[in-house]
């Protein structure tokens, strides 16, 4: 297997004095889809914050494309090809749909994803390109959030609970678009609380519990019992 695009080595992270991640060893290879599972407070979003530079960690704990990336600014990590779809979508409320999408291209990375490609992927957004992002439905807002992240032409896409608060049919639509998104070799990390969704869409799974990796393995080889035990600790 080729070398990992993202690798963490005994990654620890803190909020002030409180330690929230404990010795996380994680690898993401090019073109791979990884699921990160865990209950509320397990440390999933914190882990993504560490990967994106929003939470500072020691340089040697986090390697991006073979170089130490712990402590890098979020903007520099985006320019290295890591984009995130944040939990709760977090669109810019003062902007239209298209303006939100354009914000994603700020990092200036060239590639397959531009406005036309995003509108081809999510045609409904083209019709609503000039409306305020806040007037969209939850599912449409999630499409904008995904499109905005793709506009930076990332090599790694981090999705933080993209199914949160959405109807099952919308969740299915969004996950159905994933194969199209990753067709050019993009790596994806899908953080989810939903075991079924996470197991179905990923090749490997990490389960977090209280800030520690409680289970790791190939998605199709892990049993529901193993996952339940790692997820709930029972």
């Amino acid at each position: 297997m080729s070398s990992a695009i993202i690798e963490t080595n005994k990654l620890n992270a803190h909020y002030g004095d409180a330690k929230v991640l404990f010795d996380i060893d994680f690898k993401l290879y090019p073109g791979e889809i990884i699921g990160v599972l865990g209950a509320n407070g397990a440390g999933k979003s914190t882990f993504l914050k560490a990967i994106t530079g929003l939470l500072k960690v020691s340089p040697e704990m986090y390697t991006l494309k073979g170089k130490h990336a712990g402590g890098m600014e979020p903007g520099d990590i985006v320019k290295q090809g890591v984009a995130m779809v944040p939990e709760g979508r977090r669109l810019f409320p003062s902007m239209s749909v298209e303006e939100n999408l354009l914000m994603g291209s700020f990092a200036g990375r060239k590639g397959r994803w531009d406005l036309k490609a995003i509108y081809d992927l999510f045609p409904v957004l083209k019709e609503k390109r000039n409306v305020p992002s806040t007037s969209l439905s939850g599912g449409q807002q999630q499409m904008v959030a995904i499109g905005r992240a793709l506009m930076s032409n990332p090599e790694v896409l981090l999705c933080d609970e993209i199914s949160l608060g959405l109807a099952p049919v919308i969740i299915k639509d969004i996950y159905d678009s994933l194969p199209n998104i990753v067709s050019d070799g993009m790596s994806v990390v899908v953080v989810e609380q939903d075991v079924t969704v996470s197991q179905k869409c990923s090749q490997r799974l990490y389960c977090l519990q209280e800030g520690r990796v409680s289970l790791e393995g190939k998605s199709d080889e892990l049993t529901r019992e193993q996952i339940s035990q790692a997820y709930f600790g029972i």
Binding site: L54, P74, M84, F92, S94, L102, F106, P132, S152
Partner: protein, 286 residues
Amino acid sequence: MIETIIQGLLLGGLYCIFALGLSLMFGVMRLTNIALGDQIIISGFIAIGIAAILGLNVLLIGICILPIAFISGYLFQRMVLNPTLSKDPLPSLVVTFGLSIVIQNVLQEVFSANPRSLDSGGLNTESFSIGADLHIGVLPVIIFITAIICTYGLQLLFAKTALGRSFRAVSDDKEVAELMGMSAKKVYATATGIAFCLIAIAGIFQSIRTTVAPADGPSLLLFAFEAVIIGGMGSFWGTFVGAMVLGISQQIGFKFDPGWGIWFGHLVFIIILFIKPNGLFPKTKG
């Protein structure tokens, strides 16, 4: 009455330029610059100093001072204000309040307490007439037109340019803006650089129109505050309208009695604050 309203609008033009820098910094960073009035005054003194040393006319002084103002604002934000920015507004308030006191004392030490003005070659006394009774000063009209251009320019910058989008992005959600590849610190510094250009323009106009003295800053800050709050914080056309309301109110007060103008403005400000606590045109958030 028509003359009072026209004079009020023209006075409002000056208040608008005072207030735009405050509105810009608050809109982008949620930062209230208590030193704004003193920064206007120091800009006036710098313009007077440049005129005395280099003998330049007002337009050339403006051309010289704007790049200096932008660089000063950029560096001031990067080195002094950025470390104070957090969810707690108190650190930046304390720092800008302290800066206000420092500026006043430095100006007093260097220039003494005497008021000074910038020689505009008679521009401040030129006027034209409309009809038999209405006389309008050329300088106030220039200031008013500049206020419209600055307001429109800022609105255009925010609505139509990539820089404006980055201002709105960090204002909406700094963390997500950084996830788009922006450096919030650089965006903030650029916004303060532009705000300092507006402050410099205000300083030049103030020092031509009347006099500037080291202790004048707080009263200018008060007018700027009132204009911004009447209009609604973070909205440029709101600030423009707020400044007009303040200018007209003061002129109406002056019409009743020369001593009533300023407090009449305060009175209207308080009334509007009671009726619409978020101002006439509050910045809407989703």
